[in-house]
Symmetry: C2
């Protein structure tokens, strides 16, 4: 199994991707890794890794598609970027999976226009696993498609279902539609038109999920458009950060509470670990013809190795094939 | 100053509205209150209030528009409901403000079709103040309009600006547009089309606000459509509840942390108070021709008295008049 890693993407590149790759090679003996980027830069961090060095191939890909440029133009012009080279290698089955912490737009555009969509899938979607304190739920889409049609959302359900089966090993994932009320007639035009289509979809549709229940373990896959999904993703980060900040501030505000806070530190450490999303890797790009993971821009080496592990699980779990079958089974319904 | 209170609305009616009214009468010596509902039911809770009893008028309004019926039909048919009677009394200047913890839909429909919109305002909006731990921000709209046009959002900015000036006493409120990125070209079609209109609007537009910064004190008024606003409102509740639940669970999970948690209790109590939205009352319905507050369905007596106080501040702060002037000043721009 060969994984293509964009060594130049992310805030801590190339150190974090290279060290993450080394960690992953030690964790997963069945994999080989292609590190793509500026080779002399990569080589600086290929130290103390004689045990796995023979499973690393280096690929020259000196161009970088930045966050500041048009992703579509970037993918078209920068043919010597890791994103473009990786997506083409994946398309041509030279590698089995792809990981990048670079520009999200470039990964999307590369996935759409170089790797290609699964037949029948209209829009690929980004779908991170998010912590709810007891486990994880999949949020799909979290930003790839800001303006959606009902058909896209129905297909997001297929993709989310496939991921939870193939990667998480869930038998009958509950698929919910994020909405502002539990009743089927609630919502904006998009979700109102999506609801009846989801009722006929080939997965375990459990109805609307109100925002207050998103972290409440009522569904395993939360389907929403990319605008709302991105709001949810980032607002969760914001609220959690704000709350932890306030708790810290108030604990420090009086000396007695400060002592209590110090004593209760193990509990806070556990809470932080429970809410830590780096353990699950990055956001898979579902709906494209290969295992693709977009790692968080701020990924450190460990987060990178988790993202590589996630790609391994996607390949082993046959996520692409499950999506292919799922979308084929809704296609006839939609043309009714 | 006379405030109309729906005594039958909310989970704890009529006790909570009646006791809340009594508390408010003691707090605000300048007000009188009309309690509308089933009179014998109201009278049960009019005890130990001889000091303010002479400032309470009772109005027979035995019909109730429930959450389960169509609000528009309810407002049309149930002419003997507190909502309809109150909105008409407000329209006819028999009272100066209106508070209800009953059906949100009924308050909206009553506001639209019985009280009436401010000239130039296309859609009234619900706009609660939300805590960010240091202070409050206004979220507008939080559910009145699930499908919006850019013009509505521009007007929400006018309304939010007016509220922060009139009620909170802010001089130059920062108005932000909730979006998935900070750059002006980011977002879905709605916000992309709204951005340039807001740049020309007669308020202090500070640009896009990413969801992770909503609780980060970067703007005082957060403008969004009612679908996203409702997601934000309820997701904040959900995430906060989930986080507090996990913290509690982990603090109890080992005996040392449990002791620390006990010692730090004063800090946690302060955090809870900082994040408590009942202190600010309910959500004003802005854009209608009068001071209207929708109190939370689960309001207790104290929350009710706060909602009444909020109406008092809206009247004193001339919120309706400020909105009238604001919307008049954008009208010519829009017809350019």
């Amino acid at each position: 199994m060969k994984i293509f890693v964009d060594a130049m993407g992310g805030d801590f590149a190339p150190q974090a991707p290279v060290e993450g790759a080394i960690e992953a090679l030690r964790r997963y003996p069945q994999i080989e890794i292609v590190l793509a980027g500026v080779i002399p830069e990569i080589e600086k961090y290929l130290v103390n890794c004689d045990d796995v060095r023979h499973r690393i191939a280096l690929l020259d890909a000196p161009e970088i598609i930045t966050n500041d440029e048009s992703p579509v133009m970037g993918v078209r012009r920068k043919t010597n970027s890791a994103t473009v080279k990786g997506m083409l290698a994946l398309r041509d089955k030279q590698v089995d999976g792809f990981v990048s912490a670079g520009s999200t737009g470039a990964v999307l555009a590369g996935g759409m226009f170089r790797l290609g969509r699964i037949s029948g899938i209209e829009r690929p979607a980004l779908a991170p696993l998010m912590p709810n304190g007891r486990g994880y739920f999949l949020l799909i889409d979290c930003g790839a498609n800001v303006d959606c049609l009902p058909e896209y959302l129905v297909q997001f359900g297929v993709m989310g279902d496939a991921y939870m089966r193939g990667v998480v090993g869930m038998e009958n994932p509950r698929v919910g539609l994020v909405n502002i009320g539990a009743e089927s007639e609630k919502g904006n035009a998009l979700v109102k038109n999506t609801y009846p289509l989801m009722e006929k979809a080939p997965y375990n549709f459990v109805g609307n999920v109100e925002a207050r229940d998103i972290t409440g373990d009522v569904a395993d896959v939360m389907v929403t458009d990319g605008f709302c999904g991105n709001l949810i993703l980032k607002f969760m980060e914001g609220v959690a950060g704000t709350l932890f900040g306030i708790i810290k501030q108030e604990i420090k505000a009086d000396p007695v509470s400060a002592i209590g806070g110090m004593i209760a530190k193990p509990a806070f450490r556990r809470v932080k670990k429970l809410m830590d999303y780096t353990e699950v890797g990055g956001a898979p790009l579902l709906g494209v013809q290969g295992a693709v993971v977009k790692a968080h821009g701020s990924s450190n080496a460990h987060a990178f190795s988790c993202a590589i592990g996630q790609v391994v699980k996607m390949i082993d779990g046959h996520v692409v094939e499950i999506i292919e079958k799922g979308v084929a089974s809704i296609a006839p319904q939609q043309s009714e």
